[in-house]
Symmetry: C2
Subunit: 234 residues, 2 copies
C-alpha cells in the first residue's frame, strides 16, 4: 500500500478522515505507523497528498492535505476474455496499477462457463482488486469494468463504437504481424483466454478492424501478457 | 501446461517416456487426454516436439518425436532483490515464461531477513516454478538461479564481471532517465524490493556502471514491473 485510497464516506470533516478495517490493519501492522507520522493518501477519483496520523488505535484518523494530481492514465482499453477466478484478481490489480482505465471482461469459446458464477466477479471484490492496484501505483482513478456474457453481440454491436478511432489489436500467438511499439494515442487491446481465442473469434474481431499481432512464440499467462504488452505499447 | 517438460529420468527407452505425479494428473484432469492423443512435449535443455499417448491410467506413457528447437532466449539477466515468499513463485515462473535465462536473487536493505529462510527458496520449489514457466511458454531451457545473501560483496566483487559488456539498468521510480526501448544485445536489469533500493544501494550499482531508469511515476509490483520492463526492452 504505497498510497491509502480514501472514499467520501471516510471524511468526518473537510480535511479529516477516520478509517477502520483493512486500511487500519495495514497501517498498524505493515506501516507500523504512529501518531504524528505522515502517510501518502489519495481521494478516489481525485487528488493525492499526505495524511498526518492524529489517532491510531481502534480507528485510524488523519488530517489530510491534497496537493497533486494522480499520475496520467494510459489511453488503453483492455478487452479480456474472462480469466480463471484465481487469475482474475491479479489481472485486475495489475492492469489497474499499470494505469488502464477501461476493462471489458468478455466471454469466449474457451472460457469455462463456471467462471461467470465466481464470487470473484462480485462488485465488492472487483472494487477491492482495483483499489489494491491504485494503492500500489499511487493512483486514484478507478478503472471501469464491464462484463459481457455473450461474445458476438458485444463484438458486433458494442465494440465497433467503443473501438472507434483507436488502434485495435488482438494478441494472438500465431499472428504474422508483430505488436507495434511506443504508440501514440488510444489503443484497444484484446487478449484471449488460456488456449487463446478460436479462429472464428479472431475473424470476428478482424471484421471490425482489429489486427492480430504477436509478441513471439512464447505463450504467456494473461497477467504476464497484459504487463508485457503495455510495457511495449507505452 | 502448454508443453509437458520431460527430464532424463522420464525416458524408459530412446523415444518412450513414463510420467506420474503432477504431470500425469494434469494430463488426466485438465487436458483430459486419451490414448492416441498427441501432446506437445519438450526435453529439459533440449528440443521440443510431440508425444502420442500410449497409456493413461496410473501412469502416462508417450512415444515422443522431437523435431524443433525451443524459442530463443532473451539476452537479459535479472538481478532481483529477494521478493516476499508469496510473490517469489509468480516472479520466477513469469520471468521464466518471458525467456529470461539468468536470475540473481540478492539481498537488499528493505528485504526482510525472514524471506531468506522461506521454504520457497528450496531447490525443489525453484525447480518447480521454473518448470511451470517453461511449460507455460513452450520452452525447455531452465534459467539459472543464484542466491546472494550479501548485497555489497555481490555488487562489488561479482557483478562487475557478470555485467561486463551488457547495458546495465536499475529500475528506480525516482530516476530521471527513461528506460530505453527495443534494445539490441544483452541487458542486465536490477529491480529492487518493495519500497525500492535505498539511495546507497543505487549508488553502489551506479559506481559499477548501472544506470537508474524509470518507467513512470507508478510503483509496480515486482512481477508486473519485470514483465512491463521486458516487454519494453525487447
Amino acid at each position: 500500500m504505497n498510497l491509502i485510497l480514501l472514499f467520501e464516506d471516510d471524511f468526518v470533516s473537510d480535511d479529516e478522515v477516520r478509517l477502520s478495517g483493512r486500511r487500519l490493519e495495514h497501517v498498524m501492522n505493515v506501516h507500523r505507523a504512529n501518531a504524528g507520522d505522515e502517510l501518502k493518501v489519495g481521494v478516489c477519483g481525485g487528488r493525492i497528498g499526505s495524511g498526518i496520523v492524529t489517532r491510531l488505535d481502534d480507528a485510524l484518523e488523519m488530517r489530510v492535505t491534497l496537493d497533486r494530481d494522480p499520475p496520467p492514465p494510459i489511453p488503453l482499453t483492455l478487452i479480456l476474455a474472462l480469466p480463471r477466478p484465481k487469475v482474475l484478481n491479479r489481472v485486475i490489480a495489475s492492469a489497474t496499477s499499470l494505469g488502464v482505465k477501461r476493462i471489458h471482461l468478455v466471454n469466449a469459446w474457451r472460457v469455462e462457463k463456471s467462471y461467470w458464477k465466481s464470487p470473484k466477479l462480485s462488485h465488492e471484490n472487483l472494487l477491492l482488486q482495483r483499489t489494491l492496484g491504485l494503492e500500489q501505483a499511487k493512483d486514484t482513478i478507478l478503472p471501469d469494468i464491464s462484463l459481457h456474457r455473450l461474445f458476438r453481440p458485444f463484438v458486433e454491436n458494442e465494440l465497433p463504437s467503443i473501438a472507434n478511432g483507436s488502434l485495435a489489436l488482438v494478441a494472438h500467438p500465431h499472428a504474422q504481424a508483430e505488436c507495434p511499439r511506443a504508440v501514440e494515442g488510444a489503443v484497444m487491446l484484446a487478449i484471449g483466454p488460456e488456449g487463446g481465442f478460436i479462429a472464428e473469434e479472431i475473424a470476428s474481431l478482424e471484421r471490425i478492424g482489429f489486427q492480430a499481432v504477436s509478441i513471439g512464440a512464447r505463450v504467456l499467462r494473461v497477467e504476464t501478457a497484459v504487463a508485457a504488452l503495455i510495457g511495449r505499447l507505452y
